[in-house]
């Protein structure tokens, strides 16, 4: 029963947050608006109320027992998810510091070694090849101004 109500409850909470907090505080008042026209806050306010109303309907349909699927994004294992999330955040944070090539090499090597059974040797080769390819394609050929390890070093 509770699973059926979750989508409606979440939507209602989002709706309340929008109507009561986000929309009133998130829009600057222009001071003057042309008569018979939409003020900057009107359209988002209408939408926020519609989210709330749709959430209530979703809740009502859930309570009435309308068929709903289980609420789950899929299985999440903290022992795998947390190190991966830390590695991803580390990768993004380190790009400006160590450059895209070194970041790519470290990140892909870690994933190859710890999540794919391809061994250190092949992992090293593939990660190094990929980092070099990234440098050639994006920095040298496409001219994307990313922080480059080689340019940081030399």
């Amino acid at each position: 029963m509770i699973l059926r109500l979750i989508p409606g409850l979440v939507t209602v909470l989002i709706g309340i947050l929008l109507v009561a907090v986000v929309v009133p505080n998130g829009i600057d008042d222009p001071g003057f608006t042309q008569p018979h026209s939409l003020a900057p806050g009107d359209f988002p306010t209408h939408l926020a109320w519609l989210v709330l109303i749709t959430g209530l309907l979703l809740l009502a349909f859930g309570a009435l027992g309308a068929p709903t699927e289980a609420v789950s994004p899929g299985e999440i294992r903290a022992a795998r998810a947390l190190p991966f999330a830390a590695a991803l955040l580390g990768f993004v944070l380190l790009i400006p510091v160590i450059g895209i090539e070194a970041g790519t090499f470290t990140f892909t090597l870690a994933l190859f070694v710890f999540t794919a059974d391809i061994g250190w040797g092949r992992g090293l080769a593939v990660a190094a090849g990929f980092a070099i390819a990234i440098h050639i394609i994006f920095i040298e050929l496409a001219g994307v101004p990313m922080p480059s390890t080689l340019r940081l070093l030399f």
Binding site: P35, H36, P40, L57, L58, F112, D117, F130
Partner: protein, 500 residues
């Protein structure tokens, strides 16, 4: 004469000549790899196309989309794993054929069905988009407002998660589209002091985060999966389709292509639903209908022709009216805008050179699908075996570079990661990301037309109903809503009648 010289100079650009086949080949490979979806691939590659001219950039995306529609059938037939959701129907008869040692015939049937379905679709686009754009020129703000409401509702109604969740997705997308400076007064909306948000939430990082990241994140968040290697590929991949069998499946292909074109042109329906409709029709009328489910060539032909039949027809509302019919359409709309082109009636009025060049490249890409399928399938089969734990780190790095490269800002990478988390939340609650994305891209258009109607009518809300065409769109919207609620009840009633 000058017009056609300009058209051919655009097409004969070396970038177009390279990216057109490259897109089809990449699409066929990506489509064939289970776990890599076309939307994921387009969202990862779209940021990089922005460094190209409009035609080569768009041609690459079209190529990926078209190649992907065919590529999905390769793994469906050989491995019993659909490379794309739309290929699920192909699997029903394709894999049984492969198990009988007729994989080559099934692949050939899928290839010809893809080619002809796609060709029918491109011809429909050429014939219909111009006329629809002419009609679109008559649209004022009232009609455009009604059309956008209709499109959003249909996309929500068609969503497999249900109408209400589709509406929630659309509404949240519309709200996300209001972030940034207000177009009329210049007031800040939901920027919370961040200058990065003055131009709104960046489209590309949002797209990459919503469509590419959730699959990858869930792959690493969940239980370690056994290698999803392809396993042993089916035998008999070298046998070809005979002329007699080609003649037998041809009417099914033409019918399937027609169904794909019609359903693909309606916003929201898309390829997957079209394949099932065409499959059901072929099961009723094909000469080998007794073999359906056990290995019927017509089953493969119907599914694949309808699948590819939607390819170009989904572009009809996009090019003619600026209304995306599906996720790829919404992605393309963003790409058009980024290149300084606004799809819609004015594109036909002001930039016919570009439109004609696009038409010709679409026809040529159909032929390239045929060549790639005929000579490349055996190589694609091998690439299909690359496991996801090797592919996903590469894709993940590309998503980060793509998000960064658009405006050389690490802020966009954070937007992408947040969008990825939102995408996982949407999946958990079964809120369709497609409705969100289409709401996001249509938000400024909807608000702008609402604003214009109110200013012209001096605040009279009755003006929104002051047009027969608008009333027609509202009526169609109502039908979509009522139909969505009535359909399950009707199905249940039928089921009860059958069982009693």
């Amino acid at each position: 004469m000058e017009h056609w010289a300009s058209v051919f100079s655009m097409i004969l650009d070396w970038k177009v000549l390279i990216f057109l086949p490259l897109g089809v080949i990449m699409g066929a490979i990506i489509g064939a790899i289970p776990g890599l979806t076309i939307t994921m691939s387009i969202s990862v590659l779209l940021p990089f196309t922005l460094f190209l001219d409009p035609l080569p950039g768009l041609v690459l995306i079209f190529g990926i989309s078209k190649g992907g529609l065919f590529g999905g059938s390769i793994s469906a037939i050989l491995l019993n794993v659909p490379g794309t959701p739309a290929a699920a129907c192909t699997m029903l008869d394709g894999y049984p054929l492969a198990r009988k040692g007729r994989a080559g015939e099934a692949l050939d049937t899928a290839l010809w069905a893809s080619f002809l379905g796609d060709l029918i679709s491109v011809l429909a686009l050429i014939l219909l988009a111009g006329s629809l754009a002419q009609l679109g020129l008559q649209f004022g703000p009232v009609e455009l407002f009604a059309l956008i409401v209709f499109s959003l509702t249909v996309i929500a109604a068609i969503s497999t998660s249900g109408l209400l969740r589709g509406i929630v997705g659309g509404l949240l997308g519309l709200l996300a589209g209001t972030v940034g400076l207000d177009l009329v007064y210049g007031s800040e909306r939901f920027t919370f002091g961040s200058a990065h948000l003055y131009d709104g939430i960046a489209f590309m990082p949002l797209l990459v985060g919503l469509f590419a990241l959730p699959d990858i994140l869930m792959f690493y968040f969940g239980r370690r999966q056994p290698r999803s290697g392809a396993g042993k590929l089916a035998e008999g991949a070298s046998r070809r389709l005979s002329m007699a069998n080609f003649r037998m499946v041809l009417p099914t292909i033409l019918k399937g292509g027609g169904i794909g074109v019609i359903l693909g042109a309606i916003p929201g329906i898309g390829a997957t639903a079209s394949t099932f409709v065409a499959y059901a029709e072929a099961r009723r009328s094909a000469p080998d209908r007794e073999e359906f489910g056990k290995g019927a060539l017509s089953g493969v032909a119907a599914a694949e022709s309808a699948n590819s039949g939607t390819g170009a027809s989904t572009l009809i509302p996009l090019l003619a009216l600026g209304i995306p019919g599906d996720i790829v359409g919404a992605m393309l709309l963003g790409a058009f805008y980024f290149h300084g082109l606004a799809p819609g009636p004015l594109l036909f009025a002001n930039d016919m050179d570009f439109i004609h060049a696009l038409y010709i490249t679409l026809i040529v890409s159909s032929a390239i699908v045929l060549v790639v399928g005929r000579y490349g399938t055996r190589y694609i089969q091998r690439i299909v075996e690359v496991p996801r734990d090797v592919l996903f780190p590469v894709v993940l790095v590309l998503t980060v570079i793509g998000a960064f490269a658009i405006s050389n800002s690490i802020f966009d990478v954070w937007v992408m990661l947040v969008a990825g988390a939102v995408g996982i939340g949407f999946r958990a609650l079964r809120i369709p990301e497609a409705a969100f994305l289409i709401g996001f891209v249509l938000s400024p258009l909807l608000e702008n037309n609402m604003q214009r109607v109110l200013i012209i009518s001096k605040g009279d809300y009755a003006a929104f109903f002051d047009s027969y065409l608008a009333l027609l769109f509202y009526a169609a919207t109502l039908v979509a809503i009522v139909g969505r609620f009535a359909m399950p009840a009707l199905k249940e009633r039928r089921l009860r009648q059958r069982t009693s």
